[in-house]
Each structure stands twice: as structure tokens, then as C-alpha cells.
Symmetry: C2
Subunit: 291 residues, 2 copies
């Protein structure tokens, strides 16, 4: 497994983009390259992305970079979990070919000027409380697409709005790669895997179950014939205790993320939820398949 | 010379992106590809870009697409000159390998959502009167970079602010290609070549000379020792008749396009000018080399 920047470099991370290009020129021509872009603190969700890439590609590149442009002021950039040694162990176990650690100063030089915006897909849901988030995500993902030129890139459905933004950007900008959707991985009790789960204390960890439970309940209601988002929301979120500071629970169109007044049986929908529990912001979602 | 979309296709332009990718897969692997992106109405300025590409590359691709996203409401999108047959003749004479005609419906489907912004380089100069212009230019150029994956892309210094926006975007987004600057081509009397020049009637054509003359005068003043932008502007634009509706005449930093209070002899500057003459908007610029 190759690690970039080379751990023994005297000048730290500088030049990792150039190192990457020369790695690619030597190793990657004519190979199918799969990219798994992460912020590290790897868990079973990330492992499922890597495994899928491992099955479908000749070479698997894993990037680990806590990207500053997707955090707003007062958000958890500084205490976002960073677990380099564990991450490298997981990467080795999953037979990753290249692990690349990003460096903020290199990725965003002082006179960096470029912004990517998808206003119609990024203002709602998480975008309402995190107005810079999706612009930051799309920017780093586009940079990584250019640096790695992957054939396929793997993203989890856990971050559904992010996934839709990345898919649309990829199509709009005529990028010659496939974005591969990977299903949410859950703990045995239903909690969606997230790097932020480690910040939950035992009591909050229990309360956090309310999110997945409400989504499962919502899907039951849908399967039983309920088509009204207001009804579904009311009944599903009735379970929440006061420990759950709900940000949103919204039934939206799967492609355009527009709030629905009624779910068309032939089209289905996705329900996205976000809440803060004991200071930790969590998101989850569930797809309502057409029925 | 290949023309895409194939002129005899029954379904018009649809699918030209897919045709392009298959052309590239057949012809272009391991070849150095040069891209000349234009809106057509080709003149000597464009020919100089094509010739430079012809010298430096194995394959030269010329794109012709009057890009709607870079025109604002009330601008000259609909009467921008379109001269397909002449353009093809020039392309043939200059030994272009591929001419690609863009199609708006294909390039911008109804739910197109992505925007590119470089606020610090696009709000000033032309951006003040054309607030959507550089976002539109950067968007189409990025799309073309993805479609053609050129090794080099050729742009004229005539559109200096556009060039700086494209260069910065290319660097910021880690695109693996070289943006090649090509010098302004002028008529014998000094007028900068522009597709819009054909819209000047004989009287306006004469008045239009004021722009290049003022820039040449400004450079003389600089060479004679003048370092004050206000002085330079005043003396150089004193030549203008009332037919010249001046938009701006600004002395700016060459990399960041920031208006200068004094030109540092060791750094130089660029002077950008824009004016409307008899309803035709023209731009021009001149570089003040360090002295």
C-alpha cells in the first residue's frame, strides 16, 4: 500500500499533488481506478465503500482529508475525529492501493478564488443550517476528481443530499466517471454509522436511536398506504424525547430534493432527518420505494 | 477534418458529447490534444490560437458554441455573429482535426444546477456591467475541459479578465492541463480583432480606434516614467470623442485584477478598457511590462 505524501519526506505534505500525478502515470494507466473520498475516522460505512470499489476496480485510492471549506464558523472542524493510525490499519486490511492525505495549505493556497454552487440542491435540508456545506463538499470532490481522474467514485447514501449534489455536478460538468451509490450501513440496533457517533456518550447514544426508529416507522406508514408527508412526519416523530433537538424531518423528491405535499405511489420519495443530540449533529434518511 | 455532430445525423445535435468521447477513444489516446474554444465568427485572432495549437499539439480541436450562460438579459446573444460556413473554411485552411458545434439543449438540460464562481476576479471591470459573464465563461470552459480533456488550451490575451479567471480556475481545481496565453492580434491600424467588429459601421469603425490609441498612449506614458494610474487614465482618454461611451479604463494588477493606486516599476500592470461605440461593446487591454 502506497501512502502519500511519503511519510519520511522532510518538507511535510508539500507537493503531494505532484507525487500523486507521478504515481498515477507509473501505476494507473489503463487501470480502472476507484476513488473513496473520506474525512477519515473510518467505520464500517467507509469499509463498505472500499469493498465495493475493491470488487469493481483494479486500483482503489482512499483519500483522507478533513476539508475545511465544508465547515462553517462554530462547527466541529477542530474536534472532528482524526484517527490516522486506525485508518491506515483499516486501509491495509481492506487492500487499498493508495492512501492520500490532503493538506489544507496545498489544497487551498492563499489566493484561492473558485467556488462551486448548486443553489437548487443545496439551500434546503442541511443547507439551511449549514449554508456553505455543499459548496465546500462539491469543491473538494471536484478537486479530487481532477487529481485522481477515477473511473468510479463511491459515496454513501447516508449523506443523501451530498450524494445528489455530487451526482448532479458530475452530470452537469460532463465528468467522465461513474458515481456509485452505496447503501447506508447501520449498527445492529439501527443507528446509521457515522464518524461523529464516537462523540456520543452512552445516554446520547441511546437517544440517537430515535432517528432511525422514526425513519423505519415512517416507511411502515408508507407501506401501509399513507401518502401524506405531514401525517407521516407527525406520527414518526411523536416518538422523539426532548433530548432530540430536531433540525428537520422532510419528505422530498429523490432527484430534486423538493419537499412534497403528497407522495405519488409510483414515484416514491426519500425522507431526510437531522437532529442534534447532546451537542452532536446527526443525519439519517430512508428511501420510500415506489409501490 | 471531422465535424461533430455528424452533419447528416437525423436527430440533429443530440448525442454530440457521446460522439465526441468515442472520437477521442479512437483517435486521441497518447496524442497531445490542443483545444481552441470559441463562439465562432472566426477572425485572425482565432487563427493565431489555432496556429499556435497546430505547432504544439498532435491534434487540434476547435469548438464553436455561442454559450448562452455568458450573456445577460438584453445583451447580444441573439445577434452575436454566426458564420458557420466561413468558420469551417477557416478550420480546414488551418488544418484543424476536429470541429465541434455545441448545442444548448444538450449542454444545459432543464434541471441543470451547477454554477462556477470566482468572485474576487469576476466582480470588477467587465463583471460590473456583466455580472453573469465570467461565471458563464468558466462554466462552459470547465465543461469543455472535461469533454475534451485537452493537454493544452489556447486563449487570447484580448479577453484578459477572462484569461485570468480561466487560469485561476484551472489551478484552483487541479486540472491537469496548460492554459496557453496568446497575444492580441490587431488590425493594421491597431484595432483589436473581435467577432463584434463586423457590427461596426464605417463611422463607428473609425471611432473604435480610440481604444487602442489610448492604450498605446498609456504605455508611452508608462515608459516615459509615469506611475500614477489617475494621470495615465486622464491623459490617455483625453483623446476620446463623445462617440465613445466609456465603461471603464482601469490600471490593475496583472494576477489579481485589483485597481492600483501606483504602478510599481518592478511589477508593471495591465490596463483594461471597455466602451460602447454606436451600440457595439468593445474591450481591449495592454500590458505594462516591468521596467
Amino acid at each position: 500500500m502506497k501512502i502519500l505524501p511519503e511519510p519520511n519526506r522532510s518538507d511535510g505534505a508539500a507537493g503531494s499533488a505532484a507525487e500523486l500525478r507521478s504515481w498515477k502515470r507509473e501505476i494507473a494507466p489503463d487501470k480502472v481506478v476507484g476513488l473513496v473520498a473520506t474525512m477519515g475516522a473510518l467505520h464500517e460505512g467507509h469499509r463498505s465503500l472500499i469493498r465495493r470499489a475493491r470488487q469493481q476496480c483494479d486500483l482503489v485510492a482512499l483519500t483522507i482529508f478533513v476539508n475545511p471549506t465544508q465547515f462553517g464558523p462554530g462547527e466541529d472542524y477542530s474536534n472532528y475525529p482524526r484517527t490516522r493510525d486506525q485508518d491506515l490499519e483499516i486501509a491495509r486490511a481492506e487492500e487499498v492501493d493508495l492512501v492520500w492525505f490532503g493538506n489544507s495549505d496545498e489544497m487551498y493556497p492563499d489566493d484561492f478564488a473558485t467556488r462551486i454552487e448548486l443553489p437548487s440542491l443545496s439551500a434546503q435540508l442541511c443547507g439551511e443550517s449549514r449554508p456553505h456545506f455543499f459548496a465546500g463538499v462539491c469543491l473538494i470532490v471536484l478537486k479530487l476528481f481532477h487529481l485522481f481522474e477515477p473511473d468510479r467514485a463511491y459515496f454513501g447514501e447516508k449523506d443523501y443530499q451530498q450524494l445528489v449534489n455530487i451526482e448532479r455536478m458530475t452530470r452537469d460538468l460532463d465528468l467522465d466517471l461513474e458515481v456509485v451509490r452505496c447503501p447506508i450501513v447501520r449498527e445492529a440496533d439501527g443507528l446509521a454509522m457515522s464518524s461523529r457517533n464516537v462523540n456520543l456518550n452512552p445516554a446520547a447514544r441511546k437517544e440517537a436511536l430515535a432517528l432511525s426508529r422514526s425513519l423505519f416507522r415512517a416507511r411502515e406508514l408508507w407501506m401501509e398506504g399513507e401518502e401524506c408527508p405531514v401525517q407521516i412526519r407527525q406520527q414518526a416523530t411523536a416518538l422523539y424525547s426532548s433530548a432530540v433537538e430536531l433540525d428537520y424531518f422532510e419528505v422530498v423528491d429523490r432527484d430534486h430534493l423538493v419537499a412534497l405535499e403528497r407522495i405519488e405511489p409510483g414515484r416514491g420519495a426519500v425522507i431526510c432527518v437531522a437532529a442534534t443530540i447532546d451537542g452532536v449533529r446527526l443525519i439519517d434518511n430512508i428511501q420510500l420505494e415506489p409501490r
